[in-house]
């Protein structure tokens, strides 16, 4: 699908990362501003490695990463200023309260105190954390911890939100709250890139889906475009993303193809 008029939020070019074998292999990826992009792939496909490189947590062996036009490898601080990262394992401080945690994050991102506080209070309310805002996080459930971490990712109003399996282990209510907050961010012009194993979430939320295997992008596009690429019937409601995904990853050695 061609989207020439939309600004590019994230551009990965020939990105490579190798451990004992290539984890990310010459990956090209373009995500547009205001887009919800879902990155799918089997375990060990290179999804998390890719996102960790974008977030500045891993240095690529070669290639380039541009976030909103900023070269993330040359100027990581500027790139990080407009980026948020959230992993499946919420890393928060047990001895801080959600309110204190958000104050700390706002300090790290050098956000004006009054603005950050207003945003924090709004996020705490949206995510249903109000009753626990001043309790230490040590007794929180996985869902509550993930919501605190998500609030931390959003309190500095990032342009690009990178999420690695953010819904893992969340109950239905918490998952819906997280999804609603993410949809709201996209509606407000933010860009979201998310990996997930819950294909239904990708199917319902993503504007475009990328399928990655062996560190390479093997397919990309809307759900209909992916169905076409996989050879399954377009418009058949019985052909779910799960069928499409399994068909695509069953041919792992297929060359990188963009659905366009």
């Amino acid at each position: 699908m061609s989207q020439p008029l939309r600004p590019i939020a994230l551009a990965l070019r020939a990105l490579c990362k190798r451990y004992d074998r290539p984890a990310v292999d010459n990956l090209d990826l373009t995500i547009y501003g205001g887009e919800f992009y879902s990155l799918l792939g089997p375990n060990g496909a290179g999804k998390t490695t890719t996102l960790r490189m974008v977030a500045g947590l891993l240095r690529p062996d070669s290639g380039s990463i541009a976030i909103e036009g900023i070269d993330a490898l040359a100027d990581p601080v500027a790139a990080k200023q407009i980026t948020a990262w959230l992993s499946d394992e919420p890393m928060i401080y047990d001895k801080l309260t959600p309110f204190e945690y958000l104050e700390f994050v706002a300090g790290l991102w050098r956000i004006d105190a009054a603005t950050a506080e207003a945003r924090a209070r709004e996020l705490i309310r949206w995510l249903g954390l109000e009753p626990h805002a001043h309790e230490r996080c040590e007794g929180f459930s996985k869902g509550m911890r993930q919501k605190v971490a998500l609030a931390g990712a959003l309190v500095h109003d990032p342009k690009l939100i990178i999420l690695d399996e953010p819904l893992t282990g969340l109950d239905a209510g918490s998952a819906r709250q997280v999804k609603n907050v993410l949809k709201e961010r996209v509606r407000a012009g933010g860009t979201v890139i998310m990996t997930t194993h819950i294909l239904e979430v990708a199917e319902r939320m993503a504007d475009r889906i990328g399928v990655i295997a062996h560190g390479r992008l093997i397919a990309e596009g809307t759900l209909d475009e992916l169905r076409k690429k996989s050879g399954l019937q377009t418009g058949n409601s019985a052909t779910s993303l799960e069928d499409t995904f399994l068909t695509l990853v069953a041919e792992p050695m297929a060359p990188p193809v963009a659905a366009e």
Partner: protein, 506 residues
């Protein structure tokens, strides 16, 4: 194979877990290190036997006269206070560790049986650790003075059992009086105070009565020997047992095992209730004062420092460790007070103590701040350079060390400005060196793994200790006004250089 749900079956399960836990602690989870660890343990044991020979070799022929009984009893009480402290730590850990709790409590196995075994396991582990630590001394005495000294192993085991029994009773009492939420912190502090108070109490008596820092001075005083119970009193049974009296040994072991058995019978059910209560603790509500109602304007570095200090302040384990450090500074502080009144030349002895303590404290704080970062991804993805992050963390460590030691150095300055100047320089350098060592060997860990920080790098642990000792020696010699201070300083710098050379490259 034992039948499941029996005490023997549960005991074998607990023993297997203990063994693997110990193995993991020794090898840092790497089985390939097992041979290296074995060799290191043998070398360490040989060195400890040599040290023991130099310390107790002369007492191998000791007879059960009153002076000997007083000294041996004093040593037993000193060691027992440390064992009790260790046992309280273990009991508190058993209360709060979730690990396999859900599995056990959801199974049809009797919770009473499980917790009976767990209390016994604590007693056994405390006794084993004590026996291992005492082994070089007992072996040397038995080698030089005959097999009668081997009875001391029985006394040490009895002390471990008694310490576990009392620790369970004390911790359960804390649970009943102050509840599950507060017990964790209070029990750790009580354990630290018990561990330190006996040793420090004797030192305080020694300083006040004899002007000496030696904790054995009061035990050898004529006044104490005169005012102690009669030589035929049952009070001396443990000491008599150590000296090879079989009847006394049997009595001591019977009493301690009976007390442990009674403790298991009485407390195993409540132990289970309290473990479940501890597991059900919900989030602690932090009361906010007026000033902390809203966000404050902070730079990234200041936010990091503030976070580190808040976490340090709210860490019960660290509070108890810091308290222990402060308690150990009490005797030197007392010495300072006495010297200040009469003669300031003795103040030199205080300088290395303060410098050594600062190095050790900084090492722990640096590990917590640098390696024990619970949200590494958050900090790493923040728009702040890695160098600034590290600097902010170092500032947090050094600030804490300065805050802890400033009052003592201030008091020292009143007595001897030169000694205070040297001590403050030593504190800063030793703390900076320990921080640098932790920086070189930083690993990604959780703060809750603080207890096991030594296993992540034994080189870092030893380097930190030797660096602190070398800087303490430097400060002591500098305070004495001799150029020989340069020698330990060169050694300390050499240690730092060596650490930088062999540390893993990022």
């Amino acid at each position: 194979m034992n039948r499941p749900d029996t005490l023997v079956w549960l005991a074998s399960h607990e023993l297997r877990l203990s063994w693997r836990d110990w193995l993991s602690l020794m090898t840092a989870g790497r089985r390939t290190r097992a041979r290296t660890v074995t060799v290191a343990l043998i070398v360490f044991a040989a060195l400890m036997h040599l040290l023991a020979y130099s310390m107790v070799g002369a007492y191998a022929g000791a007879l059960p006269d009153k002076a000997t009984l007083v000294t041996v009893t004093g040593c037993i009480l000193l060691s027992w206070s440390l064992l009790l402290s260790q046992a309280m730590e273990s009991v508190t850990r058993a209360f709060y560790a979730r690990s396999d709790l859900d599995l056990i409590l959801a199974s049809p196995v009797s919770a009473r049986k499980v917790f009976s075994i767990r209390i016994a396991r604590i007693g056994l582990s405390v006794a084993l650790i004590a026996m291992l630590l005492a082994a070089p001394f007992i072996d040397v005495l038995a080698w030089l003075g005959g097999a009668r000294w081997l009875a001391a192993y029985g006394v040490v085991a009895a002390m471990g059992a008694l310490a576990a029994a009392l620790a369970v009773a004390l911790t359960v009492a804390l649970f009943r009086t102050i509840g599950a939420k507060r017990t964790r912190l209070v029990a750790q502090i009580v354990a630290a105070v018990i561990g330190a108070s006996c040793v420090i109490g004797l030192q305080v008596v020694a300083i006040l009565s004899y002007g000496s820092l030696s904790r054995f001075a009061p035990l050898q005083s004529e006044w104490l020997i005169e005012h102690s119970p009669d030589i035929a009193s049952a009070f001396w049974w443990p000491a008599r047992a150590v000296l090879g009296d079989s009847l006394a040994l049997l009595a001591v072991m019977a009493v301690s095992l009976t007390v442990l058995g009674a403790s298991i019978a009485i407390f195993s059910v409540r132990f289970g209730d309290h473990v479940m209560a501890a597991a059900g603790i919900s989030g602690t509500v932090v009361r906010q004062n007026r000033a902390s109602q809203g966000f404050r304007r902070r730079s990234a570095a200041r936010a990091l420092r503030h976070k580190e200090w808040t976490l340090l302040r709210r860490d019960p384990w660290l509070v108890s460790q810091t308290l222990m450090q402060m308690l150990y500074l009490l005797p030197p502080a007392l010495m300072l007070w006495i010297s200040f009144r009469h003669n300031s030349s003795a103040l030199v002895v205080l300088v290395p103590v303060v410098v050594m303590a600062a190095g050790q404290l900084a090492g722990g704080l640096a590990w917590l701040s640098i390696s024990g970062e619970d949200a590494p991804d958050l900090v790493a993805t923040a728009p702040i350079t890695a160098r600034r992050i590290i600097l902010a963390k170092i500032e947090a460590v050094m600030g804490t060390v300065a805050l802890v030691f400033a009052p003592l150095i201030g008091a020292l300055a009143l007595a001897s400005p030169v000694a205070a100047l040297v001590a403050s320089g030593g504190v800063l350098i030793a703390a900076a060196a320990s921080t640098q060592i932790q920086l070189c060997f930083r690993v990604q860990a959780r703060r809750s793994q603080f207890r096991r920080r030594q296993t992540s790098s034994r080189i870092a642990t030893f380097a930190e200790a030797f660096s602190s000792i070398a800087w303490a020696a430097t400060a002591a010699l500098a305070a004495a006004g001799t150029w020989f201070a340069l020698f330990p300083a060169v050694i300390a710098i050499g240690i730092l250089g060596g650490v930088r050379l062999i540390s893993p490259k990022p």
